[in-house]
């Protein structure tokens, strides 16, 4: 599965794509099957919003405790917050989806940024 993420221009907040808009919680993000062309389409739409976000890109997901979690550790930290301040960032609100992210493991690629090489 894949999700689309970016940082919001005005404050840098990590955001995820859902049905044409950007939302803050990973748990609410829109997910696509790995081969769904709609993901690429959404990425194009996201990139076309340079006054809303910076640097939109797709990330790969794995299953963790019945939830989907980003494959890469970096993306899990983005979706949660820093591990040295557990009350900072998105993780502060807690709940099952956050805990599943915190327990997720099994990274398969360094960044989880799809098409990283092509993008740059």
């Amino acid at each position: 599965m894949k999700a689309l993420t970016a940082n919001r221009l005005s404050d840098g907040e990590v955001v995820f794509w859902k049905d044409g808009r950007w939302i803050e919680r990973f748990a609410d993000a829109q997910l696509w099957a790995g081969d769904d062309p709609a993901a690429i389409e959404a990425e194009g739409e996201g990139k076309a919003q340079p006054l809303v976000v910076v640097d939109a890109y797709l990330i790969d997901l794995v299953e963790a405790e019945g939830f989907w979690a980003p494959v890469s550790y970096r993306e899990r930290i983005r979706a949660l917050g820093p591990t040295n301040h557990l009350h900072h960032g998105k993780q502060a609100e807690g709940g099952a989806a956050i805990e599943a992210l915190q327990h997720a493991s099994g990274a398969a690629r360094s960044t989880g940024r799809v098409n990283l090489i092509k993008r740059k």
């Binding site: 940082n7 221009l9 005005s10 404050d11 840098g12 907040e13 990590v14 340079p50 006054l51 910076v54 640097d55 494959v71 890469s72 550790y73 970096r74 930290i77 983005r78 917050g81 820093p82 591990t83 040295n84 301040h85 900072h88 960032g89 990274a107 398969a108 690629r109 360094s110 960044t111 989880g112």
Partner: protein
């Protein structure tokens, strides 16, 4: 301390107004992200993992209480109530909103602070000895030259688009607390037999992907010729430094490629021409300006005190925790009856270099009350009150203890340098902070930590080496192995006057084995050490073999 005059203040006001306009143009769409990014970087504003990060310059690591209070206030108002002191002696806020930054820059300017040249391929903040003006070891006050360089390098029209970033360190004491030999330029202030002051000029040290201990290219540069000589070095670098490969663009690569003698020859030739170009006015600062700057640093006033303070001795005898603090955190001052107090930002389990707004305010209060309004930041991410009467140190210690920053571990195993790493940084491959926390936990027992003695652990979350891992007695580098955090250990590095680069211990270790491995390394040292040896000395004598064997024993 140097006080900004109208000119310095107007420079900051103009800068702040310029950036306000640039942010407005970005938010309105007039500037694209590609156009805006270099502009925000020149103002220290990065986009990190969770938010924008603003890196505030603390020129040569020197702060007054009003400035530190303002940083505390900004942390509370615009961030999450804290700030992070860096190895460049700057302060980073990690949770900043783009739209707030013009206001933040205005607030900084109100106390003569800014974020100028804290990023970008320009001359960055010059660092110096945090004990400057307080230690008897120094031949003269290095801050005078650091301030001269601050002004010369600020908005330098020729050197704002160098091949890569450029960092200068100045030390004036034989004991180097600035890591001068691993800087683009390291300046060591010396006094000749005839009393004249001059710099030993070291060029082309550095860390990152290709670390070097820099060679000396000039043994004795008369101090008043400093700026023209720097101009010559920078000009040779600007013209000939590589621009085709970001990893080969630092000056160390140019110096290594040319060889130090050829590089020095080119600098000397350019320097001679600069003199001719300048003609009568000269290419250096006039003596009047040097005298003005020097005067600004000669303001500390010292009472005539007995060398021994009864209050200090009594407190040491009656309070073991205070005695421990004195053993580790109080250093000798040039004046009898005074001490230099180091404030550790490395509490066990804390984030190295972080200070809460309340802690910053406590330090500001103590500096005002007991420390001649003078606060320093060290490149090891601690703070210093350079001028405290021994009589007052018990009160300072009590104040620090109340704020949770009286940890008595300066230069000990838990006084760890760590970059923000993957918890914050967009460049990182692995986390650095939790590794530091786990190691510190292993040495929570202060008796054991003191028994181990001086041991400098330095952790970087990527090869850029912001955590100075190459020059750690134990260096730890985070690497990414197929999406998992791994850590490569190096031993035997030093950033001090005996500078050396660490050698790799063996294969990288997974996240949860690093703290245990450090524990093992320390055990080997305690077993092998001879009288008076630091960890570094033992390692240099025995070599890597016993350490390697112990850490990888269970892999056999």
């Amino acid at each position: 301390m140097y006080q900004y005059d109208t000119l310095d203040k107007e420079m900051l006001a103009d800068r702040s107004a310029e950036f306000r306009g640039q942010v407005a143009r970005r938010l309105s769409g007039e500037l694209t992200e590609d156009q805006f990014k270099p502009l925000r970087l020149m103002n220290g504003l990065y986009l990190q993992l969770h938010a924008y990060m603003l890196r505030v310059a603390i020129p040569y690591g020197s702060l007054n209480p009003a400035q530190l209070r303002k940083l505390a206030w900004i942390g509370r108002t615009y961030d999450k109530g804290y700030g992070h002191f860096t190895t460049r002696t700057n302060l980073q806020f990690h949770w900043i909103k783009l739209a707030d930054t013009p206001d933040i820059l205005d607030h900084l300017a109100s106390v003569d602070m800014h974020a100028i040249q804290t990023s970008g391929n320009c001359i960055r903040n010059t660092t110096t000895d945090p004990y400057a003006g307080a230690t008897a070891e120094e031949v003269d006050d290095p801050r005078v030259w650091a301030e001269a360089i601050r002004q010369w390098s600020t908005f330098h029209p020729e050197f704002s688009f160098l091949p890569r970033k450029f960092k200068i360190a100045i030390t004036a004491a034989p004991k180097d607390r600035t890591a001068a030999r691993v800087h683009d330029i390291g300046l060591v202030l010396k006094r000749a037999r005839d009393g004249a002051l001059g710099f030993e000029v070291i060029v082309g040290g550095g860390m990152g992907r290709t670390p070097y201990v820099g060679p000396t290219i000039k043994e004795f540069l008369p101090v008043n010729r400093l700026l023209s000589y720097l101009e010559a070095i920078l000009r040779v670098y600007n013209r000939h430094g590589r621009r085709d490969n970001i990893y080969k663009a630092r000056i160390k690569i140019l110096v290594a490629a040319l060889g130090k003698d050829e590089f020095a020859k080119q600098v000397e030739a350019e320097w001679a021409k600069i003199d001719r170009d300048a003609g009568e006015g000269g290419a250096d600062l006039p003596d009047t300006e040097l005298a003005r700057i020097r005067g600004a640093f000669a303001t500390a006033t010292f009472e005539t005190l007995p060398a021994v303070s009864e209050a200090f001795e009594t407190a040491k005898a009656s309070t073991p925790a205070f005695a421990r603090f004195v053993r580790n955190n109080v250093k000798p001052h040039k004046k009898p009856g005074y001490g230099i107090v180091e404030i550790s930002l490395k509490g066990i389990g804390d984030t190295p270099g972080d200070a809460t707004s309340e802690q910053m305010e406590t330090v500001a209060d103590l500096a005002e009350r007991y420390g001649q309004n003078d606060i320093r930041v060290t490149h090891e991410q601690n703070l210093v009150l350079p001028h405290v009467r021994l009589d007052d140190i018990p009160s300072v210690w009590a104040g620090l203890a109340e704020a949770g920053i009286a940890t008595a571990n300066i230069n000990l195993v838990s006084d760890i340098i760590a970059c923000p790493g993957l918890d914050y940084c967009a460049l990182a491959n692995a986390r650095a902070i939790p590794i530091a926390q786990h190691i510190a936990e292993k040495f929570r027992d202060p008796d054991r930590a003191e028994k181990v003695g001086e041991l400098k652990i330095k952790i970087s979350g990527c090869i850029n080496a912001c955590g100075h891992h190459h020059v750690g007695h134990i260096g730890i580098l985070g690497v990414d192995k197929k999406g998992e955090e791994f850590y490569q250990l190096t031993l035997g590095g030093s950033g001090a006057e005996d500078a050396s680069l660490g050698s790799i211990l063996g294969p990288a270790l997974p996240y949860d084995r690093v703290a245990g491995a450090v524990d093992t390394l320390v055990d080997v040292y305690l077993r092998e050490r001879e009288d008076g040896e630091r960890f570094l000395d033992t390692f240099r004598r025995t070599g890597v073999a016993p350490f390697k064997e112990a850490v990888y024993a269970d892999a056999h």
